[in-house]
Every structure is written in structure tokens, then in C-alpha cells.
Point group: C2
């Protein structure tokens, strides 16, 4: 089923069919032909061939999201959901590419399917663009969420805080550290030190113990995310420290599993759907006004 078939069935030229199907109002085509063409297209089940169109227009009706290893989580899922919904509404299809991404692999993507845009997940955070763009992270982005985490601790009387980050380092760790420090200054408490929490339980317990030895004044640990928080919680249990009496722990980006530990993990829930929708509009160069990401919430369980 091609344009040619529709043209033949209607008795007009291919160009005319293209014009009416693309609603080109520069061309004055009689209402009658318009209707006949549309009718025929419908009856024949004509669907434009995306590859041909992409060759002609230079770009396909797709957007690719690249997600680097280690960046997946609850946030990314919800982000993908919003991105997908918004793109779909504009007749674009979202395709996700996993793995490690370099300028070369991105170029390859462009060469292979010529997407309208390729979005690197987390890029706005990594480049710091988020702070300037669209109202910025201090209102409803990573900065605001980081601040909420610190604030909850402060509201519960904690002023000496440590930040636990994944061992091996997440690309986002430096950014989080910066925002957390900034939030601490704004709240008038000392800027938190950070330490790495290894995957392996014994190593993690050691790391937690070492940090607590070095900073005996610390009464609360803010985690980079829930995975880290869960490891820290287990370490504290193995170390015989009571949570939250001896040390409080708060997670970040609620993944749901904090409900199953003893004590339950208090954490920050982020709804990233609106962020995803925002990215979609940015990628399509559409108006982004009226898109208000909901604020993050504290999920109160028992670890603070």
C-alpha cells in the first residue's frame, strides 16, 4: 500500500495525495478531492512508509532515549513513562537504547535510524543545565529533591549528616553531593561528608563503621538512593547500631523495597512523569509551559 496505490485509486497524482494527507493548506485542493483521497486512503489502509519519509525529510518520527548503565531506577521508569506518553501523543515513537554511550554510539544511532532527537538520560543533571532551564531544579528538580531529603532530617533534629554514595561512583554522585551541600548551607547546618557504600555486605559494614568512627558526631545518613540506603540499613543492623535511635537513615527515590525491612526505610518519592513529558516537549521544540512537575514527597516509614 503506497502513495501510488492511493493516487491510482483516486485518479489524482501522487503529489496531490501527499498534499491532502499532510493537510498542506498552501495548496488549494477542492473539498471534493480531499474527501475522495482521504476516503481511499482509509479504505486501502494506507500508512505512510516511515523509512521513505525519513530519507526524504532527513529525520524519522522517532526519539531515542539512551540510558547508561547504573542510572536505572524508580525515577527512570517513571520518566520513561511520561516521555513515552507525551511523544505518543505527538505521533512519535520512543525507543530506548541501553548500554554505555559515547559520542560514537550516538552518532551511529543517528546514522542508522535518523531519530528526531536523542535524549541522554540524566544529561540535564550531569551538565547542570537543569538549573537554568525551565524554572530549574531548585523548584521541582533534583536540587529540590535533594534539599527535601536534608530538610526532613533537620526537621527531626539532625544537624550532623553523612551522605552515602554507591561505590564505584554514579555519574550523578557529584551532582547530588553538590546539591546536598547547598541545601545544608541553606538550612544552616554543616556541609555533609560523603562515603562510598560497597555492594558486598561485609565491606559495606566496614565502610559504615569507618565513617562513623571518623565522624562520631554524625546522627543521620542520607543515601544517594534506596539501594544504597538498604545496604546501609543492613550494615547498621550487623554493626548492632539501632535505627533510628543511634543513627537515622533516609533513602532517595522510593523503590518500594524499603517497606519490607525492619525498620521500614523512610525515603523520598519522586514522580518523574512530568519530567519525562518536559523532555519530550523540549526534544520536539514544543511549548513547555503548563507542565508542573509535582513536588517530591517524604514517604515516612520508621528509619528516621
Amino acid at each position: 500500500m503506497t502513495l501510488n496505490d492511493v493516487a491510482a485509486a483516486t485518479g489524482v497524482s501522487r503529489a496531490t495525495v501527499s498534499f491532502v494527507l499532510n493537510d498542506d493548506h498552501e495548496q488549494r485542493i477542492s473539498a471534493a478531492t480531499r474527501e475522495r483521497v482521504k476516503q481511499a486512503a482509509r479504505e486501502l489502509g494506507y500508512v505512510p512508509h516511515g523509512v521513505a519519509r525519513a530519507l526524504r525529510e532527513g529525520t524519522s518520527r522517532t526519539v531515542v532515549l539512551t540510558i547508561d548503565e547504573g542510572l536505572e531506577g524508580h525515577y527512570s521508569h517513571s520518566y520513561v513513562h511520561g516521555l513515552d506518553a507525551e511523544l505518543r501523543a505527538h505521533a512519535y515513537v520512543l525507543l530506548v537504547r541501553y548500554g554505555h554511550h559515547t559520542p560514537q554510539t550516538t552518532q551511529q544511532l543517528l546514522d542508522v535510524i535518523a531519530p528526531r532527537a536523542v535524549i541522554a538520560f540524566g544529561e540535564t543533571y550531569l551538565t547542570g543545565h537543569e538549573l537554568e532551564d525551565a524554572g530549574g531544579g531548585w523548584r521541582d528538580g533534583l536540587a529540590a529533591h535533594s534539599a527535601l531529603q536534608v530538610r526532613h532530617l533537620v526537621e527531626h533534629g539532625h544537624t550532623r549528616i553523612a551522605l552515602a554514595v554507591p561505590e564505584g561512583g554514579s555519574p550523578l554522585a557529584a551532582t547530588r553531593l553538590k546539591f546536598t551541600g547547598q541545601a545544608a548551607r541553606d538550612l544552616g547546618i554543616p556541609v555533609p561528608d560523603s562515603f562510598a557504600a560497597p555492594q558486598e555486605p561485609a565491606a559495606c559494614a566496614e565502610a559504615v563503621a569507618a565513617h562513623l568512627d571518623r565522624r562520631p558526631e554524625v546522627t543521620a545518613i542520607a543515601a544517594f538512593n534506596d539501594d544504597v540506603a538498604l545496604r546501609v540499613l543492613a550494615a547498621l543492623r550487623d554493626l548492632g547500631r539501632r535505627v533510628p535511635e543511634d543513627v537515622a537513615v533516609i533513602g532517595f527515590d522510593d523503590n518500594g523495597y524499603g517497606a519490607f525491612t525492619t525498620p521500614g526505610l523512610t525515603t523520598i518519592a519522586i514522580d518523574a512523569e512530568a519530567h519525562g513529558r518536559l523532555s519530550a516537549r523540549l526534544a520536539l521544540r514544543l511549548d513547555t509551559s503548563g507542565l508542573l512537575p509535582p513536588p517530591a514527597r517524604v514517604v515516612v516509614r520508621a528509619s528516621v
Copy 2:
């Protein structure tokens, strides 16, 4: 940078360039020209335009994996990893599409980027193809893994088992139930009954209590996956039943979070990378021999 540029730079025709770059041995082209062309292509940084090629060949160098909602987990991650690696090795790029998939959305995908293949995640399980294809699930697929779960329980003296599935139903639940029943028959124990475990804690506790009332002889619960197992574990704790003394619990598809509960969750770890590689070769119609998925392993913690 197009074929034309390379041809111009070398002083041969576009066809010749295409022939040497695609290693067409039907054509007898002098070693000298071959070298000159390749050299020029390298120097100019020529990369074939995937969209043009796709238009000509009818299919692009991509494979799309569709993942329906609710099918994500540790298994799917590891599967995606293997699929990606294998496809990459054959110069294909893997693109993942999320959301709910219907024949229409799949057709749309075909129309938009003409992928070489679209793989529906879990399809081999859902259609039951897995059992016939490539050695089959009883050796190293879902059937074998389901059997391992039951066997571990039986080896620990349990003969009356219940299967806990997600409320709302996973597309895979029926398949799992079938395999579990089959495994039970093979091991000479009664075929397990199943019950749905709701997300909400109170409702889940109620469901677990109700099932245990109805089937007081049950001494062990096999879960559809770790998420369900974790909920069941919490329910049992809220119900005041000791695990594993009163009731044993075993998960499926280790997601790592079972390490943080008390007691720790015993579960089945599945390495799906080889399954992903297998799918890649199947999609590319390549030889699949020599690909041996490693067997699943029991991760012993404390809940059995």
C-alpha cells in the same frame, strides 16, 4: 559524506564503491581499486546512511524489543544485556519499546523504522514455543527454573506447597502455574494451589491468612517472583507466623532485595544473558548452537 563523495574521491563509480564496501565477491574488482576505495572511505569518515539503506533493502539494521508493562525485573535486565551484546556483535542496534503492545503498535513500529525483527519479551513463554524450540524450557528455560524452585522446597521436606501470584495477574502467571504443577507431579507431591497476593500490605496479609485457613496443610509458599515473595514475607510477619518454622517462603528471579529482610529471602537466581543471545541469533536467523544457558541456582538465605 555519501557514497558519491567516496566515488568522486576515488574516481570510480558509486556502484563500485558499494561493491567493495559491502565485500561483494561476485564482482571481480582489482585489489588495487579495492584498497583505494577503502582508504578513501576511511579517510573521509564515510558511514553508510542507514535510512537510505533501509529504504533500498526493505529493512533497517535494527531489532526492536517490546516489553509490556509488568514484565520487567531482574530477568529482563539480564536478558536485555545479552540481546544487546549479541546484536551489537553483528552490527545491529537494539532498541527497546515500552508500554502496552498490540498488533497495531507493532505494525506501527514496522512502518516507522522497518526493524529487521521485533521481539516481544516473554513471547516464547507465553506462546509455549519455548518448550519445543532449541532444546526447550525443561533443560534451561522457565520450566526448568520453576522445577528448581519446587525441588528446593521438596528437598527441605515440604510436600504441601502454595503458589503466590501477583494480584491482577501477570501474563506469565498461567504458564508458571502449569510448570509448577508439572514439576510437582514429577516430584510426586500434590499439585500446588495458587492464590493472589495484593500489593497493599493489609490486603496481602488477609489473602495469605485466608489461603492458609483454607489449606492448613500448606508448609511452604513458592512465589511467582521476588516482589511477591517479599510481600508474602511481610504478611507472614504481620500475621505472627514464623518463617521458615511455621511457613517457608521461596522467591523467584533474585532481585537482590531479599538480602535485606529478616529472615533473608531464599530464592532462585536466573542468568538470562544466554537467553538474550539466543533470541538475538534467532531474530537474525543465525546458528544458535553452542549457546548453553547456565542453569539457575538457588540463593540460600534464611526463609526456607
